[in-house]
């Protein structure tokens, strides 16, 4: 043992024994025990990746269950099918099949989607009636007719498009 701080060894020993000398009072008093919160205790989880949870599902056993647990200490072949299922249900809440099955929540989601799309449609209809004013006069059928005539007179897209479909000889759309 080498004393690095050049104190004589007996001084170091004196401080050591002070720490470990027996005394009538504990070095650290016990002032009280904190209340144990539920979330600090091991919890039960049904998980595929952790098949054996920290605790059994049923913590308080009824007298029937207690006697079944005693019977479990003997030969398992002597247990009936119902007793085996009962033992399983004491330890576990849901079987793998039960924990893995779907919830059908998607049906609610799709129903909600359709509902809100429909509701939005109603809102849009109301808006068209009560919020927006009339369309401009340029939408009137007579005005539109004059527009089409003007476009034909100008020979708009005469090769493959608009005017190409108009029969100028017979003054009608091509059949």
């Amino acid at each position: 043992f080498v004393s690095h701080n050049a104190l004589p060894t007996y001084f170091l020993f004196a401080s050591f024994t002070d720490c470990f000398s027996p005394s009538s009072k504990r070095q650290t008093e016990v002032r009280g025990v904190a209340k144990v919160e539920d979330y600090t205790l091991p919890a039960y989880f049904d998980r595929r990746e952790s098949p054996l949870p920290d605790i059994k599902f049923v913590q308080q056993l009824s007298p029937d269950q207690k006697s079944l647990k005693e019977k479990e200490k003997g030969s398992w072949a002597a247990l009936s099918k119902e007793e085996k299922i009962a033992l399983y249900r004491i330890s576990f809440k849901e079987s793998f099949a039960e924990m893995d099955k779907g919830t059908g929540e998607w049906k609610s989601v799709v129903a909600g989607i359709f509902f809100f799309i429909g509701f939005t449609g109603l809102v849009v209809l109301w808006q068209r009636n009560y919020v927006y004013g009339d369309v401009p006069h340029t939408f009137d059928p007579e005005y539109k007719q004059k527009e089409v005539q003007r476009m034909l007179d100008m020979r708009i897209n005469p090769v493959e498009g608009f005017s190409a479909k108009w029969d100028y000889e017979n003054n009608a759309w091509k059949k």
């Binding site: 098949p51 054996l52 479990e72 099918k81 399983y88 079987s95 039960e98």
Partner: protein
């Protein structure tokens, strides 16, 4: 192509359908790689401990299920016998359920494992989840 990727991920273990060597495909940069047999032997020894306690059984099982593999029947047999020593039938059934769940899409694994474990299941009186009807939700 997707199935090739899937099998490559699980090439580590018993069901290695990849055409590469049969040694465990862990990518260590140094150190000796544990062979499949050593892995199996280690786990069988773990569960064969005569005075195994409930925590060790749970810890062992949860760890084993965490690996990217389906345990060999001999490991599972040791685990089932550990359940017997601990008088825990429920955990034995749960282990069988976990094996079936672990096989995923490879539906041929679970019947094979049951076939290999049949003598042990009969000897200890452990029912399969199917026999109890808890394999259906």
């Amino acid at each position: 192509m997707f199935s090739h990727v899937l099998l490559k991920v699980s090439s580590d273990r018993l069901w290695s359908f990849s055409s590469t060597a049969s040694v465990a495909a862990r990518s260590y940069s140094h150190g000796k790689q544990e062979t499949d047999e050593e892995f199996d032997a280690r786990w069988v020894t773990y569960f064969n401990k005569p005075d195994i306690d409930a925590w060790e059984l749970r810890k062992g099982m949860n760890t084993l299920i965490g690996y990217d593999l389906v345990p060999e029947p001999k490991i599972l047999e040791a685990a089932l016998r550990a359940c017997r020593r601990l008088n825990d039938l429920a955990s034995a059934i749960r282990i069988l359920e976990a094996v079936k769940d672990k096989s995923g899409p490879h539906k041929e694994i679970y019947p094979y494992v049951l076939q290999e474990l049949r003598p042990t299941l009969s000897e200890l009186g452990i029912p399969t989840p199917e026999e109890l009807g808890i394999d259906k939700a």
